[in-house]
Symmetry: D3
Subunit: 239 residues, 6 copies
């Protein structure tokens, strides 16, 4: 039995609250159970210096946690003067994941900055971030389409969503919450598209190495979970 | 007429959503119209180094804005590697304001860290922060009281709330939103207690200096507004 | 009785030594008793990036303390790698105060940088800084006028000076030195013009809140002190 | 055909030069073709603060590149004042990979710091780092064993090595050099043990997503490559 | 002819104003012509961590320039977030120079921190700093002697002073001001004691290398100048 | 007797391994005994901002040590977020030394960046760096000459090399290794050209001051050592 009482292949309640932010071109408060992340997409009519005059745009991401999003208050990164290694890793992952489904040429010479800020954390903040960020990105593109700047369908090639899987007391389970994550031997994050493509796989064994078979099982669990998440994204955007 | 359509002495709709955060000992999402600030109070069983063995506790505050809380995305302070001058000013103000109504000896050798994070900004983020932080602080003390650590009434000496006033087209008005604030000649923030005491006054004339009479009028407006805010705080905590 | 032996409404000996610096376009060593601040005004033929081609100039300020300006040596901010919150607050205040009496359009697309460096501290460094900085700014404009760059009278709209007031053992007093400041309940800084306008008010009660009447008394004390300071500024510049 | 002229499953020439450094307890210059990394293992008789009195040790890693290890000179991280995101990601990966094969209890309350410094880069610096770091770590433990501090076999549970695989013009290939890496669609790094366990998998598709089948092929390629690398490690240490 | 009109072996007017600072245990405003440096010596009853329980003390130094000490305003180091290379070099030189004449065992487990802050610069700020710092250090030791903490004569083994020499239009000259320094081919700083010992020599040829003979001439010039400076130090302290 | 067993005027075995780096335009692994420094010269077709359109180029240098180049592991400067004072001093020295033999006009508007990275340290890293950097610089210019960008002879005016001398148990000795350096009273570094010019002299007495005669002896030792080093440079480049 999982501490959460969920079945091995059962994800937490997932919801998307679109237009959460008054100012952003696209925004979404995504909830994976008690993990709540505010994702905003901000359009900027400029690209990074190294991309100037290259005829294409860019999608980038930043990630942060409110200091008391967690069980114990963490030091505010702005106060400590730098982003921690975990933060940097996660925001690079979010950026890569979204770019994998974006046609940067069709976006034009513009940048969309995704901010994923964890309001409350209970495990799986990076997977919730990616999944919610896709909705914010979609809505930002719709905002642009309404102003005849782009065609959403040409820019956004596919859905992308993410979920974590792990081995908990020898049992492969999906979408681990904080308690489960702390107890798991293996932690793997999968980022996949609606059409079945794999965008990113990160599997880590801090304790004991895992086998190829175990990894295979986790990937199958993830595949089913991603399909469910994509279904929820579609429902959220009314597709 | 104000851009917002409000009367000169009319504040925006103010609300407090207590227990917004699952983890914090006290928390409150405060809204002053479209300005939304998440205030959490975190108890730590230690004091800053300079206060060790002094027989009293400490209340401190940090302030931050999500990058897209504003009309244009601002650079994330954690990414730029330092907190800006405005952030530092505001968080010091919040800390001083709360300490003015706290009996630090009665708190004991503990620190309560207040985090005020602006989810959405539309002017008056510092006054909303102080007003909401008082509720979070109150709830943190109640949490402690439930564990026989303190008596809330002995630690918390009074309510504290804050409101901004300004002169807009020669008309003194209260609780300016972003548009009004941008157009105002004078901007003054008042932090006051329920019992009529002044905790902090900050009046600034970036354009033309103002007169003592004008300042007097702003202070009277503020006094009435603070009374209203204190009433709402009382209703929120069920006092 | 005040520790300093002064009467409640008696300021310390105030002096201005103009042209203290060989290099700066304007400079002044201001003394409020044992508080000594070197104020320099540096002309630069460029404006901050956000003001380019806006047809007006800018006045900005920076503040610093020599490490042993105080009773105990403080860590050098250049060595610790950042300016502290207090420093940032004060330099923003100095800049705002001066800009309130400057016609930025008449200045033209130039920046005047004010540096206020505390050589020796004994309370009231920010008020001495503002009062002395006005003299340095005046002399910088005269330097420019001698080169037909501006008319001083068109750029400098008024005098600005600053003084602190506080409540010491229930007695309102003016221009607190370090000992008095440490013992005071309330500390308020007033920045005002010769013509009676208020530029900035900062009143703080770290201990007990103060009343509107007390604040009124402090403001009256300040008004008289500012008049005296403006008189001394006039004498110093030979007006 | 690969730009390097190698067969799809052919790794570059790999060599280990042990005792490269006079000072370090363990050291190894590892070469994967033109990628040269100096790995040192430094023993310290202390653990990180959060591990004090926990009865076990720690293995950590840092990674760096000489500024001109690459085709174009990169900015020195010490001069820019921070380690980049890529550096942070890689050094965390190296640390996790080594800890997966270390019995931290058997190590005792000591820390071994691994430094992987890239002298010359031609793709695959992180996989070369892990593979070489294992040799440096092994030699550090042997150094300790010679001083009766530990038993190497009790601390070091297994070999660990790493290799990258990718899809190049639809062809899965192993151990990509810089040119191949720049042209590849998919890049996956595999960290595995001699006994067949998976320690870490990182698969990334910056361009087009990849399929589960493709990933399966890459993993098989990696498995064979790791076996080869482990064989070379054994030869190097004379096992 | 020198731009300054001085003879080749003629130093600028040098003066020491002792007790310039109210707070510091020792202080001195030293002037080498238009170069003015405030030197303070601050006693601290602690030593750096690496010297704890070693039975001796430490003398360290920090150096800074006010932003407008120079002809053009320089960026404030506290604002730019780091001390520049030149600053670091100079403060290390000052510290080494003073330690060469201090008996650290006789000082006891205490630290004296020397701060040299350039109020106005016109060349030779590092040599003026060292020469003035010696006076401040002397007075700090006298302050300690008055409190029976040390014997000045046992701690301070000798005088130390410094002067620059250079080759200006083929002519060796002493104590270069800014204009001369900018035009000189070679710049050498000499730190020497009253008893004829050399503490530090730094000779630099940014343009053309200089010969051993030229260097010999500069050293002789310096020797005479140091004797003069030591005489002025003695007069200043009333020895 | 020296700890190393060398005669007073005997240098360590010195060697230059050219073309050590595949990527750099010029590179050299220089060894002074157990001190090993990798020197690379990187050509960049741009100059620093303050040199734009000045019709000449620039040569600059950076210096670093691998964390375990030394007997005890040092903290990585990139991790601590700043370069230490010693690093800054040394890299400025290397840059000045090379510029003294370079005709910057003949170089054209380009920058050559020298990186000196200490792979293994045993005293004299700065002198080895300068001596090896000259070879890397020479080879970079040859690379440019092969592309008709410059004439090496017109840009490179002379050889430059460096050596340390010190007084060890009253005996002047050359090229001190770490053990000797730790025991020496005086440490002097000499940077000289093949034609007998002095580029930089740095003599330091942390313990007791030294005499002019002693310094003279050190300079003579250095002169002979530099001649030997220049001979080895010539042999290395096949001149």
């Amino acid at each position: 039995m999982r501490p959460s009482g969920r079945k091995p292949d059962q994800m937490r309640a997932v919801s998307f609250e679109r237009n959460f932010s008054k100012h952003a071109e696209g925004s979404c408060l995504v909830k994976f159970g008690d993990t709540h992340v505010l994702c905003t997409a901000s359009l900027e009519e400029r690209v990074p210096p190294w991309l100037r005059n290259a005829g294409r745009g860019w999608v980038t991401a930043e990630y942060g946690m409110l200091p008391r999003a967690t069980g114990e208050r963490m030091r505010r990164e702005a106060a400590s003067g730098k982003q921690g290694g975990r933060t940097v890793e996660i925001q690079r992952l979010i950026g890569r994941s979204l770019r994998a489904v974006v046609n940067l040429e069709a976006l034009g010479e513009r940048q969309i900055s995704i901010d994923c800020d964890v309001i409350q954390a209970d495990g799986g903040t990076r997977t919730a971030s990616i999944t919610g960020a896709w909705v914010a990105l979609h809505d930002c593109l719709k905002w642009m389409e309404a102003r005849s700047m782009v065609k959403t369908d040409r820019v956004l090639k596919d859905h992308v969503a993410a979920v974590s899987c792990g081995i908990l007391a020898s049992q492969p389970v999906i979408d681990l919450d904080y308690l489960e994550d702390s107890a798991a031997d293996t932690d793997a994050n999968f980022v996949m598209t609606a059409s079945g493509g794999i965008v990113e796989i990160q599997g880590t064994a801090e304790k004991d190495p895992f086998s190829q078979d175990e990894f295979q099982t986790l990937m199958s669990l993830a595949r089913a979970g991603i399909d469910e998440l994509v279904g929820l994204q579609k429902a959220a955007i009314g597709a």
